[in-house]
Amino acid sequence: MEHHRERSDHRPQDLPQVLIIRPPPVFTLFEEKFISSKFQFLKAWESTLPLDQFLTNYAGSVRAVLCSGASLITLDIIRLLPSLQLVVTASAGINHIDLNECRRLGIVVTNAAAVYSDDGADAAVGLLIDVLRKISAADRFVRHGLWPAKGEYPLGSKLGGKRVGIVGLGGFGLAAAKRLEAFGCTVLYNSRKQKPFVPYPFYSNVYDLAADSDALIICCGLTAETRHMVNREVMLALGKQGIIINIARGAIINEKEMVECLVQGEIGGAGLDVFENEPNVPKELFELDNVVLSPHRVVFTPDGFMAACELVVGNLEAFFSDKPLLSSVMDE
C-alpha cells in the first residue's frame, strides 16, 4: 500500500533526529520542555546495543547531538557520526567535547553558559561570605547545642575592602564582579586576554593575581591550559588568610595540593562546588570547618534549568531552520 506523503504532514519519522547518548540532567528533569515540531530525539541510552554499534546502525544521518558534562563527545564518537554538524551542550562547560576535532571538521558547538551566569555568581558570592564569616560552621555550632555551653564563636573576617581575584572574566566572572562591588570589594582578574572596557586591574597570570588577592574565585573553563592551573605555588601566593572559591571545574585546581594546603593551614579556607572526581570528595575536607562543600549543585536553580531548556531548544530549532544559532561558542 502506498503512503501519500504530504509536505506539511510532519509525522515523527520525517523530523530530523537529534542524538542523545546519555540524557543531560536538565533533559531528565524537564523532558516535556524539549518537545519541538522541528526535530525529534534519537535516544542511544534506551538501546541495549553497545554504543558504537548503535551509532553505526542508526546515527549515520544525524546532524546534531545534545549532550552535557556527563555525556562526553569524544573523537571516537565524532568519527561514528559522519553527518554531524552541531553539538549542543546543556551545560556551561565545554571541556567534555573534543573541540579540536570539531574545529577540524567544521562542527559548531553551542553551550548554555549565559543562562547560568547569575545563579553561578550568586553561588560564588554566597560561598565566599560563608567561608569568610563562618556561616555554615556557626550553624553547626548552634545546631549541636554548643552556644549555651561555649559562648562566643570565633570571629569571621569582613568582606568589604577585600581584594577578590576572579579567574576568568566571562559571563560568570562579570556577574560575580558586579555583586562583589556592591559589598565594597576590590575586583581584580586574570583571563586569557585582557578585556577592553573593563574597569578592573588585569593580571596576566594566576600566580600574580593570587599574590595580590585575599580570595580567588574560579570562573573559567577547563582546557589543557587551565588544568591544574591553581597549584601549590599559586595557593602559597594567595596566603594563609586566602580563600578559594571554585564553581567552574574541579580539575582547574590541583586537588591533592589544595587538600594539603588546607590541612596544613597554608590557605585560609575554601568553598567548592566542583571536584576532580565527582561525586568523590577527598575525605580530609569533611573535618574542616573552614571548607564549605556543595555537590555540584549550588550553581543550579529550576529557573536556570528552564532557561537552559529554552536555549537548547532555541539553538536546535534555529539550526534546523537554517537560522543563526543563539549561543555558539566562538573560537578565541
Partner: protein, 339 residues
Amino acid sequence: MAPQNQSQPSQNDLPYVLILKPPPSFVIFGDHFFNSAKFQFLKAYESPLRLPQFLLAHAQSVQAVLSSGGAPVTADTIRLLPNLRLVVTTSQGLNHIDLSECRLRGISVAGAGTIFSADCADSVVALLIDVLRKVSAANRFVKQGLWSSQGDYPLGSKLGVKRVGIVGLGSIGSEVAKRLEAFGCTISYNSRNKKPLVPYTFYPNARELAANCDALIICCALTDETHHLINKQVLSALGKDGVIINIARGPIIDEKELVRCLIEGEIRGAGLDVFEHEPDVPSELFALDNVVMSPHNAVFTRESFEDLRKVVVGNLEAFFSIEPLLTPVVLDDQPHFPG
C-alpha cells in the same frame, strides 16, 4: 622626693567608667580592650556585692557607664547614679537602655553608630543565599559522605527573582537593599515613616509587606511597637514560598509561631542570628534543613571590633575632654523601648 609630673595623672586621678557586666569584646579580647590613658574602669561584676549595694558604695561619683546588650541600663540603675551624664553602649541596638529616663535626666547616650551596618548586611545576604540555595544543608550532606551514596541533592531557588521586603529601612536596611539590588532583587520596605527620596515601594505595615514579598528581612529596632511584630498573621501572609531573615532582635518575631510554621512547612525557611532567649535556641530547629542559625554574631568580625574599639574609646575620651561625642544618639524622637 621628686615632685610628681603634673602632666601624667596617677591612676587614682583618672575618672571612672562603670561597667556592669563584661561586653562581648572583653570576653573575646580581654578586659584591656578599651583601655585609655584618659579614664579607668570600675567593674561592678568583679565585686561580691549585689549591684544596688555596689553602686551605693562605690559608684556615686561615676559620670559614665559602658553598657552592652547583656548589661542593660535600667531606670533603677540610673537612679542609683546621681552623677551619671553619659551612657556608651558597644552595640548598635539601644533597647537595653532606658532612653526615656536618660532624656528626663539629660544623660547623653552614644552607640556604635553605623560601624556594624555593612557586616550585618553581609550576614543577611549570606543567610538569605544559604537558606534559598541550601548551602549549609548541602555542606552537611557532602560531609556525611552522602553524595556518592545518595546521588543528587535537591535544587535551591533563584535569588534575583525574589521580591525582598525590608522591615526597618535604617542604616542596616539600606546596606541590605544596596547589596540585594546588585543580585537583581526588587526591594520594598516598611518603616515607622515613609522615607522620601528612597526608590523602594513602601508598605504601611508588616503584614502587607509580607504579603507582597518572597523574603522578609528584619532590620528594625526592638521597641514596644515592634515586639512580636512578626506574628501568625504576618507569617501567614509571607506564605509557603517565603523566607524570613532576622539579624535584629529575637523578640521582634513570635518565636513559638515561627518554629511551628517552619516545622509545618508554612514558610519556606529562615535565617536567624537572634532568638528570644539567647543563648537558648528552640531545639526543634536543630533538625530542620530549611533553617540556618548563627549565635548572635552577625556583626562580629575582627575588623568591626577594631572599629568599635576606636568609637567606644573615642566617645569616652571626648566626653572627659568636654568635646563632642562621636556617635551621639538623638533622644528626642526615640520610640519607647521595653524596659
